[in-house]
């Protein structure tokens, strides 16, 4: 009779789940809420700040063109290239800043760790797809823009199961 | 009252169904145990038939009941003959099957086939006859191909199967014709209806009878339909060959006597000449071809074609001589034992020496004296040498043929042809004996299988004993012979 009990138990479990809330996050309409504004790094303490490792943000007024991010990336993905920027800063003599090819980037964040001047952070933006390869290459000017993201869905755990709403 | 066939059906059927189940149920396989079960069932059946005879419960002759089975002496005779052959076959198989797989299925199939043969002889309804015929045939198809690793066995089985399937298809067709003409399948009613058949239907009735002759003739090995027989007898395992040659053939005769002869009589046909011609052709071709064979099984296969011819003589002269059918039945009984013994002897040779070729059995008389003696005596009996039982049945047949000479001109010629053929057969039987006893002096004795020895001793007693003192069997046969009184 163990077999019959097991089968009835399984069927019962199946029927019970018909009343559960569904788990699915309906992605394009809803987006998951993340911690903070993205991954940061504090070179003084040597510890990062938790956050999503999404698309980078470059602060032009901090970047000195030291190429440390590019060197860090060389061992990983070779996604960062230093390019000339039209504007000139006094702390950036060579006027070069990182340009990131998101077709190659693996979002490991080692470049952020490498930056000693708080110039390179990561943001919450992860929707980077493009129809062309060229569209994946973000110039310093594009990297400067703070992305607008509306991410608010969170897992709610209730009596009728966990749901994303 | 049809107790006997039902008892046989019950006993053998239960044993036949239980054996494979036993095989599945138990891990270790004891071939002998299965054979013992099969033998036990067969002996119970023989004993019951014999008891029925002794106690006089059986009606003499062939009766036609309104039921599907009848309990009559005609069937009883065939039942005893076939069950004896089945016992031979099972006993002979004990040594043969020692290293083979699935012994239980093997014995169960022999039992099922035996049921079929017995019921063919007992049945009084065409449907029952057909079904029993199939029960007889289908297990033997499997048995003939039971040696799966042996291409010869398989090919023999395939040939046998194709011809057998064709013959049963033809029989169904014949039954359908008869049924269409008479509107019934009970043989007695069929015969009654046939006697009053409308003249316009006559061609169809002849066609139906012809189909029956063809269908049964395939099993009996009559001459136009004998092609499969030597191949099959050579290829099939020898104990099974014994079953085929000595028993299924006889079932064909039983069916023929029940249907064809009665049907023809009912139709007022003069069939005797046709059967006589077939008889002469069958025995001549069988015996002549046997001379040319180099293989023992094959030679005996042709010889059994020849014997089918002898038996047919009795049928051919039946209306003119009372001894005709008696002789046929007597020869059926004798031939069953003789042929069975001969093939079992060959199976003993195969088991011990693995040869069947004629040149390889030199000195068999010294190597396997008891088997050789049994083989010799059975061959002599087949040839019809006087003190043996074969002599008496042949005498009766030839006498009947001579006796019918007063009614039909060809009767004596039939007898003459038969006698010539017997002489011819003695030639090749003698050849075998010469090989066995007068050649190959340097042979040493080998161990003979016990089961074969048992069969040999029984058949020796039977052949010699009944050859010396044949009266009880002749009485028995007289009792079993059907009369031509229509029901």
């Amino acid at each position: 009779m163990g077999t019959a009990t097991g089968i009835i138990k399984a069927l019962n479990s199946g029927v019970k789940h018909l009343a559960r809330k569904r788990f699915t996050l309906r992605y394009p309409e809803q987006k998951l809420k993340f911690v903070g504004d993205g991954y940061r790094y504090d070179p003084v303490t040597g510890v990062g700040v938790a956050g999503l490792k999404g698309r980078h943000m470059l602060f032009h007024d901090h970047c000195t063109g030291c190429q440390l991010c590019s060197i860090a990336c060389e061992g990983v993905a070779e996604a960062i290239a230093m390019v000339k920027v039209p504007e000139s800063h006094k702390h950036n003599k060579k006027s070069i800043m990182p340009q990131i090819d998101y077709g190659k980037c693996v979002f490991c964040g080692l470049c952020v760790d490498a930056c000693p001047f708080y110039a390179l952070y990561m943001s919450n933006d992860y929707e980077l797809s493009s129809f062309t390869k060229e569209g994946l290459i973000y110039t310093p000017a594009q990297l400067q823009v703070k992305p607008h993201v509306s991410q608010d869905a969170e897992i709610q755990i209730t009596d009728r199961g966990a749901t994303h709403g | 009252m049809n107790a006997t066939p039902l008892v046989i059906l019950g006993v053998l059927g239960v044993a036949g169904v239980i054996l494979p189940v036993l095989d599945v149920a138990r891990r270790e396989r004891f071939t002998q145990a299965y054979a013992a079960v099969a033998l036990g069932a067969l002996f119970i059946s023989i004993g019951y038939v014999g008891y029925q005879f002794v106690s006089g419960m059986v009606q003499p002759g062939a009766i036609f009941s309104t039921d599907v089975l009848a309990d009559d002496a005609f069937g009883g005779l065939f039942a005893i003959a076939m069950l004896i052959v089945a016992v031979f076959s099972v006993t002979g198989s004990i040594s043969y099957m020692r290293d083979q797989k699935y012994p239980a299925v093997y014995y169960s199939l022999i039992l099922l086939s035996a049921i079929g043969m017995v019921l063919v002889a007992y049945s009084t309804d065409l449907v029952m006859l057909f079904v029993a015929w199939e029960l007889m045939s289908i297990p033997t198809y499997v048995l003939a191909g039971f040696m799966k690793r042996n291409p010869i066995s398989n090919e023999a089985a395939l040939k046998y199967f194709l011809f057998g399937a064709m013959s049963s298809a033809i029989i169904v067709y014949g039954i359908s014709m008869v049924y269409g003409l008479t509107g019934t399948t009970n043989i007695s009613e069929v015969i009654v209806a046939l006697t009053t058949l409308d003249a316009s239907m006559m061609p169809l009735a002849i066609l139906a009878i012809g189909l029956f002759v063809a269908g049964f003739g395939f099993k009996m090995g009559l001459v136009p339909f004998h092609m499969w027989l030597p191949d099959t007898y050579e290829g099939a395992p020898q104990p099974i060959t014994a079953l085929l040659a000595a028993a299924t053939k006889k079932a064909g005769f039983a069916a023929t006597i029940r249907i064809v002869v009665m049907g023809m009589a009912a139709l007022h046909l003069d069939w005797t000449l046709a059967l006589g011609i077939i008889a002469v052709m069958t025995m001549t071709i069988g015996n002549v071809a046997a001379i040319m064979q180099k293989n023992l099984s094959r030679m005996l296969a042709y010889s059994s074609i020849g014997h089918a011819g002898y038996i047919l003589i009795g049928l051919a002269v039946a209306p003119h001589s009372a001894a005709g059918l008696q002789g046929s039945l007597y020869h059926v009984l004798n031939h069953a034992v003789m042929k069975g013994a001969a093939f079992i002897a060959i199976s003993g040779v195969v088991v011990a020496l693995a040869v069947t070729h004629l040149d390889k059995i030199r000195g068999l008389g010294r190597r396997m004296p008891i088997t050789a003696l049994g083989l010799t005596v059975s061959l002599l009996a087949l040839a019809g040498v006087p003190p043996l039982n074969g002599f008496w049945s042949k005498l009766m047949l030839f006498g009947a043929a001579l006796e019918s000479g007063s009614f039909v001109w060809w009767g004596p010629w039939l007898a003459i042809a038969a006698v010539l053929n017997s002489a011819l057969s003695l030639a090749y039987y003698g050849w075998i004996m010469r090989k066995m006893y007068f050649e190959g002096e340097d042979a040493k004795r080998v161990k003979e299988p016990k089961s074969v020895i048992a069969v040999m001793i029984f058949s020796l007693l039977f052949m010699v004993g009944l050859g010396v003192y044949p009266d009880p069997v002749i009485q028995f046969v007289e009792m079993a012979t059907p009369t031509f009184l229509l029901p």
Binding site: A10, L11, G14, H17, L18, K21, F23, T24 | -
Partner: protein
């Protein structure tokens, strides 16, 4: 810029419209009008107001809706209607489509996900149509060394067999396509065709995975046919008839499942196996043999096989309803037609349509159909449910289940039926 869309030219556009118009006219004259005439020739036209209904009169139903009633009635009593629409293919196909949708949604709910969602705005209600369109538009790929005629024929034959099965099912009193006197035997005969189609299609694809799948399907179907047949014998014995209609009528007071629960369970398990549904879907076990005998089918051929599968599902569920649940019998739920509609007619704005022929479908029939559908849908639900909670079983487990357990159980069922029959409780001439 995208190069996919060609530049628009007015002349091409106009020419294509003219082309279409031309072909429509040609087709209508050559095909449509003869077809209409043939239909009119076959359908026995009713007589309205002492005048034979002509197409012209038939078209005037717009003015007087009551004129449509005889046409509908006439249509409903044709064989064509029975085969194609109501008890036959149309209903079955509708139910099959519904089954597919419900299965997907239900399974999704059970698995805590959404299922079809976007197609058709409301919970993916048009997903099936989209899938059908997709399948139609897909290329049909045939393996190079396949046996092409058999390969083409197999899906069609599969659907045909399933449709033949559907045609044997009585839906309401008198509403059955083929009312065979030996309905149960006919069902067995039809079921026997499925393995042949399967093995033929599997062989014809000339590929290893379909062949293994086909042989598995063959083993499965053949070995479960025996308990399937045996489990129905109890019902046949108690009902004393082999006609499906007769069996339904014998269950006026109680369904046979009350007395033969063992048979019902065996039959249900055999249904699952015959339908190759989880846990018996091992002919399509994708982790071992890709998709079994369906591996090489593509495009609409696969769609046809799916259609046949779901028709078969409906037919088996309906057979279960008929054999064990009492078919259409059940208390009267359908409300009677309001008298005033029949006497006074329906107010359609300015026009008042008096419909003398109402009710076309009488109350008993509608009630029967309602009960039948309710029961069938319940059975279908229970056929679908195991897919969510059971894994697939193995071929040797399947065979031992079929040959030892289910056959034994169905014999027990037969003995129960015999006991009930001989005790005089049930059956022809029984107490009840």
């Amino acid at each position: 810029m995208s190069v996919i869309a060609p530049t628009f030219r007015l002349s091409y556009f106009l020419r294509s419209i003219l082309d279409n118009v031309f072909w429509i006219i040609v087709l209508v004259t050559l095909v449509g009008i003869p077809a209409i005439q043939i239909v009119l020739f076959y359908i026995e036209m009713p007589v309205i107001d002492g005048e034979l209904l002509t197409p012209f009169l038939a078209l005037t139903w717009l003015a007087d809706p009551s004129r449509a009633v005889p046409i509908i009635k006439a249509l409903m009593y044709t064989d064509f209607f029975r085969i194609a629409v109501f008890p036959g293919f149309g209903l079955a196909a509708l139910l099959a489509a519904g089954t597919i949708f419900v299965e997907r949604k239900m399974l999704a709910k059970l698995q805590l996900r959404v299922g079809p969602f976007y197609c058709g705005k409301v919970e993916g209600i048009l997903q099936l149509m989209g899938d059908g369109l997709k399948l139609i538009s897909k290329e049909i790929i045939i393996p190079a060394k396949a046996d092409k005629p058999i390969f083409w024929l197999a899906p069609v034959a599969f659907v045909g067999t399933a449709a033949a099965f559907v045609s044997l099912i009585p839906v309401a009193p008198g509403w059955v396509v083929a009312d065979v006197d030996l309905g149960v035997l006919a069902v067995f005969a039809v079921i026997g065709f499925f393995p042949i189609v399967t093995i033929l299609s599997a062989w014809s694809a000339n590929s290893k995975f379909p062949f293994i799948g086909g042989i598995r399907a063959l083993h499965q179907m053949i070995s479960f046919e025996i308990p399937l047949i045996l489990s129905l014998l109890g019902v046949v014995m108690l009902a004393g008839t082999m006609s499906l209609t007769g069996i339904v009528e014998s269950q006026d007071f109680f369904p046979w499942i009350v007395f033969l629960p063992v048979g019902a369970i065996v039959f249900f398990i055999c249904i699952l196996a015959e339908l190759e549904r989880i846990p018996f879907d091992l002919p399509e076990a994708e982790s071992e043999i890709v998709a079994g005998w369906l591996t090489e089918f593509s495009g609409m051929m696969y769609g046809l096989v799916q259609l046949g599968t779901y028709l078969k599902l409906y037919a088996f569920a309906a057979l279960f309803t008929v054999m064990f649940l009492g078919g259409w019998s059940g208390p009267m739920l359908w409300p009677p037609f309001p008298e005033e509609i029949i006497t006074d007619g329906i107010q359609l704005g300015p026009v008042t349509a008096t419909i003398p022929g109402l009710p076309i479908l009488d109350q008993a029939m509608l009630n029967g159909v309602l009960w039948f559908l309710l029961k069938t849908v319940a059975v279908i639900f229970f056929i679908l449910l195991p897919r969510g909670v059971f894994p697939r079983i193995r071929i040797d487990m399947l065979l031992s289940l079929g040959w030892y357990k289910l056959i034994g159980l169905s014999f027990i069922n037969i003995f129960i039926a015999l006991a009930l029959l001989y005790a005089g409780v049930l059956g022809p001439g029984g107490m009840i």
